[in-house]
């Protein structure tokens, strides 16, 4: 069974420690939600695992199927099965979605293997239909001039095409209207069935998303650590009470 193990992970930006000893194991097929106040290091965690060069791992390890990914380049990590749905996806003028995704699919093929173009488009269109993305989008430049919701849908489209083992989804619900939220959630849920279901780390601020994508576990992240874990009812509790009580519990425990 594929899994991602995050072991006592420490991450700094420059000299500033952001993530301070974080432990978490995500198995394929599971959904783990991470909630927590702004600035606690949720995006830092996700981007550092994906290999973003701005972040330095100062301690601990991240293992995918038992193998450390820390020495791998970002593209190698992706090809070995990691996927990051960005909180703020980049706009890439002049590069069409079709060409971009084709390059990503081709990068996963063996040397000399030819891409079956008609099969590729068939798959792409099927995923787009599911996510209610107009087929005209294939010729549009990646995220260029997309609305907030279109960008997020495009992230899920990429995830659907690349079939990762582990997906880190950073605030995929932000910027989505109610209908788009349901469509995106359906898109994710469609990938949760079957043997190729990814393990998902779902970073969110809102309980609402968790009504649609029901998590197996909910974790609260605060000051670079996971300070509380529970099942989906923890999200409801946070929604009702805010973070203060978690902070106080944490302060009392570490005092």
């Amino acid at each position: 069974m594929s899994q991602l193990e995050i072991k006592d992970l420490h991450i700094s930006i420059g000299d500033k420690p952001i993530v301070k000893g974080l432990n978490l194991t995500i198995k394929r097929g599971e959904v783990h939600a991470i909630m927590g106040p702004n600035g606690t290091g949720k995006s830092t965690l996700a981007k550092a695992i994906a290999g973003h060069p701005d972040y330095t791992i100062t301690g601990g390890d991240v293992l995918l199927d038992g193998q450390s990914v820390l020495a791998m380049e970002p593209d190698e990590r992706a090809r070995s099965g990691l996927f990051l749905a960005f909180q703020y996806p980049s706009e890439i003028p002049g590069v069409s979605i079709a060409n971009f995704l084709r390059a990503a699919v081709q990068a996963r093929m063996a040397e000399g293997e030819e891409l079956d173009a008609s099969g590729y488009y068939k798959r792409l269109y099927a995923k787009m239909d599911l996510l209610k993305i107009d087929r005209k989008f294939t010729s549009r430049a990646v995220n260029d001039g997309f609305s907030g919701g279109e960008k997020k849908r495009c992230e899920i489209l990429q995830m659907a095409m690349l079939e990762p083992k582990i997906a880190l989804m950073d605030e995929t619900d932000s910027g989505l209207d109610i209908d788009a939220l349901r469509i995106v959630a359906e898109g994710v849920n469609a990938q949760r069935n079957g043997p190729s279901a990814p393990g998902i780390l779902l970073i969110t601020h809102y309980q609402r998303l968790l009504d649609y994508i029901v998590p197996d576990f909910v974790h609260v992240m605060y000051d670079g650590r996971i300070v509380k874990s529970g099942d989906k009812t923890l999200a409801l509790e946070l929604e009702a009470k805010g973070y203060d009580w978690v902070k106080q519990e944490f302060a009392a425990a570490t005092a």
Partner: protein, 443 residues
Amino acid sequence: MSSPVSTLSKLTGSFTAEAFAAHLARVAHLPSWWLDRQRAAYARFVELPMPKRTDEGWRFSNYTALTLDGFQLPPAVKAEQIAHREIGVTGAGTLLLANNRLAQHVPLAPALAQQGVIFASLQHALLYHGDLVRSHLLAQPSKFGSDKFAALHEAFLEDGAFIYVPKGVDAELPLGVFHYACGDGAAVFPHTLVIAEENAKVTVADFFRSDSASGAQAAQFACGGNDLYAGHGAQVTYVAMQDWSRDTLSFQFNAIVARRDAKVLSLNLHAGARQARHESFSQLAAPGAHSEMLALTIAHGTQEFDQRTLQIHQAPNTSSNLLYKNALLDAAKTIFSGLIVVDPDAQKTDAYQSNRNLMLSDEAEANSLPGLEIQANDVRCTHGATSARIDAEQEFYLESRGIRPAQAQELLVFGFFEEVLGKIENAQLHDTLANIIREKFKS
């Protein structure tokens, strides 16, 4: 004190009086007015000095590498000897020139020929359409300080392509011209002359290649030119693809004349050569004329691409739009020097000039000298130059999808070029351009 002989040989390099005499002997059958012009041009070539450090027109360029030694007028080659790939354009007709001679001619579709379209070698045109050639061939002055090399081109020009589209005729499919240089040391002088009469429409694809048999490293010399003339209401699309061997010294002189309401779109792709200088001179000669000047450069290794442009607005209500994009890898170098000139009575001119450089390496060097010279008061002119590194977030985004760094850079270069590539509507031509760029990432 050096003897006169050694001074002379220093100025002519391989292009000695003997070489010129040999050239003249080969073109003796051409009209005397033309031979007189060639003789006069050779005399100018001999007299003019090589560029030097203080020449404004050579600012930033590696003028010391402009050696004319070690080349020769190459022997004839047969079309079958060339690894010719018929790419990009098919159907409408092809001219293949190799080592300054016509090597193959796939004639025009009969329907076009019947309408009076002429697609022939320049020698054929000199012999049978002398007046047309006389009024348009190399009729514009050299404007950028390359008079010596322009004279060399005129003196040694042996054959080229001639395209004439009469009044009201739409030539539809692109006409393909291939210029080959074959063999180490080969000196070639390609030329393409395009004349579109009133309301005519034509698309020309002009390829510059070294025969692959002589290897990517063949040291060659290319000194070419093209004249584009768009008559009243004519539409000319001209796409040039420079893909000479990596050790070629290349000059290309481009002159555009757009008459009333004419539209000219020229796109130059620069991929080959060791050092390549491209000069483009656009004249907006009558009201309503428009010139779209586009260029894409993909520079790698230690290649140097030197681009000099001039957009002259000579009449009111004319417009021009220049967009030159360079992608620089390794220790490559580019120079862009552009000038917009608006004559006093060219009111309501709308002129735009932009040079953008995408830097993919810290060792690469992009130089930009944009300029304006406006003598009318009611005009809209903008110009600018930018240089930017590849965007690290964009690169990470692509790589986070499993795309390898080299491929990610290639995609970003294509993204950068798309603004220009997207203007080429003909799908075959578009793909051909893209393939040449893609090849550069493999070498």
